[in-house]
Amino acid sequence: MSTAVEALRDTPFTVGGRTFQSRLMVGTGKYQDNETMVHAIEASGAEIVTVAVRRVDLDRTKESGVLHHLDTRKYFLLANTAGCYTAQDAVRYARLAREAGFNDFIKLEVIGDQETLLPDVQGLLDAARTLVREGFKVLAYTNEDLVTALRLEEAGCAAVMPLASPIGSGLGLLNPYGVRTIKRRLKVPVVVDAGVGTASDACLTMEQGVDGILMNTALAAARDPVAMAHAMRLAVEAGRGAYLAGRMPRREVAVPSSPLEGLLD
C-alpha cells in the first residue's frame, strides 16, 4: 500500500530520547465516560497520553484515578502541570508526577490568564530551568512567540509545544507563520498543543512541518469521539505526508493542466 511506503520514508518521532511511531498525542480529560476515552485513544493510534495530577478523592477513591482504565504497558504517560499559575506550583506538581514512578517526562504548563489559559512565559521559563536541572524531560506548552520558544530550547527543554489556539477553544491553527517559524528555527521537536478542533485543523498544522500534535478536547467534545479520533489519526498522517511530499508553489494566475497544442481550429 502506498501509505505504508510514505510512512517508511518518514523518520520516527523522537523526543527526550524516546522514539514513537505516532505523531498524534492525546489527552484523557473531559470524556463522558472512561469506556469512550479508552476506545478513542485506541482509534487515535496515539502512544503518548497525557494525565493530570490531582488530589485523591478520599471518599470515592476507586473511580477517580485514570490508571484504573489505561493500560500503562501500552501507553506512555505524559503527566502535565495543568492548573498551575506559578513556576513554584508547576515544579511541585512535576515532582509529584515523577514520584508516581512512570517516567521523568513532564508536560509543563504555567498559566498566566484564567480566561484564555495563555501561558505565563516568565514562569514557564523559570519552571523549565528548574525542572531541567532536576533531570526532567520538559515538554513546554507555550504560545507562538519565537523568542520564548528559543529561550525554552536554550533552557534545555526536550520539546517545545506552541499552541494552535487557546486550550479547549477548537479555533484551529490561528498563526501558521508563527508555528512554522518556530519549527524552522528550533532543533528540538516542535509539537503543536491545544486548539485543534477538527481534522482539517490537524492536517493544516502537520503541513507546517511540525513534529506532532497533542489534542484532547477535539476528541472528547466531538459528537462521536471514537470516530473523530480515527479521523484525526488520518489527518495527522495526511498532513505529515503532504509536508514530506512538498506542496506545489502557490500562483496568483491559472496554469492549464491540459496541453495547448492539438486544439481544434
Binding site: 488530589r55 477513591t61 508516581a100
Partner: protein, 70 residues
C-alpha cells in the same frame, strides 16, 4: 491524654490515631500505596519510606494520583 491527633489531608481536617505512620494512614483510608503519591508537610515521601514517617498533630498531608487531563 488523647490518643488521636488532628491533621489536614487533602485540605480536609481529619482525626487520626496518634503515632500512626503514613503507611498506616493510607491503610486506614483504604488507599493502595502504589496508587498514590504522598506529600508530607510539602515534602514528598517515597514509597519505601512511608512506614518510617510518623504523623504529628497539625501535619498537612497531600495524597495525589493521576486523573484524566490534557
Amino acid at each position: 491524654m488523647t490518643d488521636t491527633i488532628d491533621v489536614t489531608i487533602n485540605g480536609e481536617s481529619r482525626v487520626v490515631a496518634a503515632g500512626a505512620t503514613l503507611l498506616e494512614l493510607l491503610a486506614s483510608l483504604e488507599l493502595d500505596p502504589r496508587a498514590v503519591v504522598v506529600e508530607h508537610n510539602r515534602v514528598i515521601v517515597r514509597r519505601p519510606n512511608l512506614s518510617g514517617v510518623t504523623v504529628a498533630d497539625g501535619d498537612a498531608i497531600e495524597l495525589v494520583h493521576f486523573v484524566g487531563g490534557g
